[in-house]
Symmetry: D2
Subunit: 365 residues, 4 copies
Amino acid sequence: MSRVRIALHEKRSRFLQVPIEPFTIEPELRADEILEKMERISFQGRSLGIAHRVWQKMLGDDVTIFMGMAGALSAGGLRMVVAYLIEHRFIDCLVSTGANLYHDLHETRGRHHYLGSARANDAALAEDRIDRVYDTYASEEEFCDNDVWIGDFVAALEQRPYTSREFLNLLGGHLWKETAQDGILTSAYRAGVPIFCPAIADSSIGMGLSQGRHKRPGSGYIDIIGDIVESANLVIRRPRTATIVLGGGTPKNFINQASVQAEFFSSQVGGHKYAIQIVTDVPHFGGASGSTLEEAQSWGKLAADAAQVTVHADATIALPILATALARSSSTLANERKRPVMDPSLREMVVDGTPISRDTFEETE
Amino acid sequence: MSRVRIALHEKRSRFLQVPIEPFTIEPELRADEILEKMERISFQGRSLGIAHRVWQKMLGDDVTIFMGMAGALSAGGLRMVVAYLIEHRFIDCLVSTGANLYHDLHETRGRHHYLGSARANDAALAEDRIDRVYDTYASEEEFCDNDVWIGDFVAALEQRPYTSREFLNLLGGHLWKETAQDGILTSAYRAGVPIFCPAIADSSIGMGLSQGRHKRPGSGYIDIIGDIVESANLVIRRPRTATIVLGGGTPKNFINQASVQAEFFSSQVGGHKYAIQIVTDVPHFGGASGSTLEEAQSWGKLAADAAQVTVHADATIALPILATALARSSSTLANERKRPVMDPSLREMVVDGTPISRDTFEETE
Amino acid sequence: MSRVRIALHEKRSRFLQVPIEPFTIEPELRADEILEKMERISFQGRSLGIAHRVWQKMLGDDVTIFMGMAGALSAGGLRMVVAYLIEHRFIDCLVSTGANLYHDLHETRGRHHYLGSARANDAALAEDRIDRVYDTYASEEEFCDNDVWIGDFVAALEQRPYTSREFLNLLGGHLWKETAQDGILTSAYRAGVPIFCPAIADSSIGMGLSQGRHKRPGSGYIDIIGDIVESANLVIRRPRTATIVLGGGTPKNFINQASVQAEFFSSQVGGHKYAIQIVTDVPHFGGASGSTLEEAQSWGKLAADAAQVTVHADATIALPILATALARSSSTLANERKRPVMDPSLREMVVDGTPISRDTFEETE
Amino acid sequence: MSRVRIALHEKRSRFLQVPIEPFTIEPELRADEILEKMERISFQGRSLGIAHRVWQKMLGDDVTIFMGMAGALSAGGLRMVVAYLIEHRFIDCLVSTGANLYHDLHETRGRHHYLGSARANDAALAEDRIDRVYDTYASEEEFCDNDVWIGDFVAALEQRPYTSREFLNLLGGHLWKETAQDGILTSAYRAGVPIFCPAIADSSIGMGLSQGRHKRPGSGYIDIIGDIVESANLVIRRPRTATIVLGGGTPKNFINQASVQAEFFSSQVGGHKYAIQIVTDVPHFGGASGSTLEEAQSWGKLAADAAQVTVHADATIALPILATALARSSSTLANERKRPVMDPSLREMVVDGTPISRDTFEETE
């Protein structure tokens, strides 16, 4: 028999170092303990465990932590998780789609999204003016009421261009004054955490802005190019950064763009030092949402030695577990970490005591 | 202005009944508490919460619970979770791919799978004779040693056809005697839980069987048509069934086929009463792995009023959390539930005291 | 035997009307002939065939055809297909991500993207300053040169806010004057087809704008709220619309938003009459990119009786075939169809001879 | 300004060799001409173009070409495409799921699958006893009639174990004699192309076999371990092989397993020389269906220097175009190529004039 291969090697391969440890059932485990065990299994379970580890490393280091959120996470029940992460400064800067901020505002104003069915009769829903987001419903009329509320706020503002960051801080403040309720916008307002919304024109927040303009011509100017300059200056000012991406979309790219743009003007910028992405898109169709973190290294968006992990999972599964785990494992770390002190309420955002420009990139040598 | 729509309705739509409850962070929550909260959010997070609920309902009812497993779950670190579910009778019958049983045997025999990288240099791995499964490695030589071990066992068996169920029970017994280690095969052997493997020819278990035949012509006959008859008779005998599918593949269909086949011979069979599937495939390419549970209803695989849920998630994320949750929430239910008493060690499997045929469908009126 | 079911029915079910016709091989078939045959098979093949049919219906009707494009389609080799669709007026209005316009500009200026490998060594690429988009490479230095070129153009413009539509028309004109080369921007400029880019801040076009501002403070103001008003007014003016979406993202939602916003101000707007989407995202994670066209009906984005189809495919496969097919089957239709006459080169876009506002929604009774 | 990077390099990077050539519209192009142009674009469009090229290389070389098919391709309208590939010997050996052979038999017997809707009311379908496969319907009663027909055929066979290969050849012959209609089973029968079905127990073909056993105890024995030995001996006999996989599943692995098993017994076997896979699954969940061809190299399933390509697409889009293209570009190649001469109608299959064993691996030095 030619099967000479059967004899077992004496020496192990360098590739066989750390064994998989089969997950064992311990009913009383907490989320962080579960995730720690999952670091030793395979596939996306391992990735989620590693995400917990990488986020801890971020908190222990001196980095500005950006979070991007796309997908209907606020409507889908994750807005208070994001608010928690903001309030307890597990993150320093949020980049969001408009929809997530709008659905947050909707609930902060006391309305709800509702449990629904993904196999609904959409014609019947349309008749009742119910808007469906997969398995979740909302009242279109309540949405219209939000639009008017935003439009009124917009029309009352001083007539000049606002970066999305400044506008959203003002909006959060207005919302807080009116409702005194927690949420993403209000928590960010209170914690001094800036929110950027580069695609604000593609959302109901944008529709509210357009209604403000309709009401009072000359209002509703959002300076999203100012957002580019400002976000890059934030990186130039504090070149050590980390990124946490939920769902891809414009926030994912905007965070990376800030780093790439900053690098043109500062040799100290070298890409994010840490990166976590929780995505459902895949790389092989070439879209940015599904692109790998390895690919990001070719662009310099990510440092070559960055601690990074991609989790291919729905954020509505991954984030509740991950954030609950972090709240238990890393509260002290989050509390005591070095973090930027920001005032995003002014026309020029103040970072660590100095304003940063929205017009000119801050050049360093 | 034509925008008459803005005034809020007095009455609510019948579609707006139960509000989404945003997930809030409580660091000390256990897995079952997390999943209970996730029932009130959206998308796949909600689905995972519902899966926990549906499984509890199965345990509280008088149903035979089938579990199917496909994908590299054993190599990926979930074999002790499945062993736990078998041992504590959260399930009654396992249908598996051969690979999952083979990788289970590999570890039960004291070998390991190893943490690896999905971006490995596969040429370098091949040189070291390391087999890669995404981010997980194993030694090909250890695999070859398993093949020989299975081949020797096969060649020593009485020469006649065995259903995969009978063969796998014998294999589990042999493994238990030799190792006294827990695992899927050994736990099933000890708990009297049958394992079917309809695609055994497409796996390293099958390769081991073929080596048994090579060693001793006349050995290694697996009667997979007998498996069809036997699995249908199991349903005819106990027409109330439930199905839990991990990953699709042949196990998913085989479990459904048992129900469809049984229905031809018994008017009491009416499809599974409960169904959970945790899959990553999608419906729109027409493959069975990703097919919806609604579609299964057209075939009569699933009862029209079945409690059912599909979770679109990697099992390495979903199952550790779900099983940990169940272990805490439902141990008593599992312990006290009505369940089939089976002896899968004989040529004709015994169910509730009576043998069932592998040759003839048991007809009832 | 209880199997009473075997006897074949005399009458057919109402569900069994049109048989699948197995695709047969005819080597000489053209793209349109292939797609016509694919209408009679299943799954996404059928969907692609139907997409061809629905697009033909659009061309035969009196509708304004919007196309959205997201994903790296220009870098990926589809820019001349889109330019063809613009030039021959298979579409009337393009909504795009900034990246697609930037990569188009890059090639129109005489540079290239390059065949690469999806399994590249990204560290080596970074060293050579090569940016990777899955299996496609580009020179970062050539990109930087584009940024400067755009920045110079921006800095030379009159200092006032521009809608993305106006800005992109000016950019296309500048590009045409300098290069006289076909491409998306130049074809749109020449054909009088407006391009909207609601997320322009999240792209290298935006980076170029920010460099213009850096160069000359006061420049680089893009009025994306004006884009909202204008796009809604375009729908109010011509309430019969159709949408073709490639890849989801902000363009998909922006086109739908225009219709929803328009409906607030005009009772004649009732959602798109036709819809085609070619997407790779899936519905079950709740994101807008993967959302179904049925869901869109609940929002009123789509008319209840719309002819619509979703094709789950990579646009780099689907679009070359679909556009080649249309070019053969429907050139006359495209040539003779009723279409809006637009002048997007002015501050206020002119539609069918009358300017439309970017500040005030045009109310109708 | 620190932006020293802007100056364009004098020399090009070694990574920038072959430019993307934007796809241009030529209405009269045939499928092969379209695919040749798609080799110069990106993403899955390029992959499909390369698949055409790799298949041509297979045909020009001296290799045994295996094709695996999983997913509901026969029901979905591709059975005559596969029959064409068999008849014109673009492939030499088919490995299939049972369902694809069953649905082929269904239509060869004169019945149909029907155009349906993916959003059907499944309860209404169940009432009419219509089985749904995504957007395709079939009559359950006609299916039952097939089962009886297969069962009768099985019960009439000599009572001994049959490899799936031998059984399916006999079944194809019976079908041909009765219908004289083309299809997969009948074309394979007539062309002397063997079909393996390792998971035959998980299909309606298996259900038919079980009904044969029910009718006449002692019939319906399928020797799927014999299939393993035989398929490996086929590779040992002709060590140069190629694989074309549609949809993954058991066929994908079985083809690879044949090569791995063969390598144990012959030093001349070194993995497939060419590989094409058209799949919709993804690698990152660890399942075999979505696994990469690179990973296959670590196992030795694929030669290190194999010409290979993965196309992430639905086969109902990719295969009609690819096969139409091949029929035009490569008919002569297929006609004149070196290929195995096989007789799969005997108990021991004959390859190039010599029978091969189903019991003993053929050892070579």
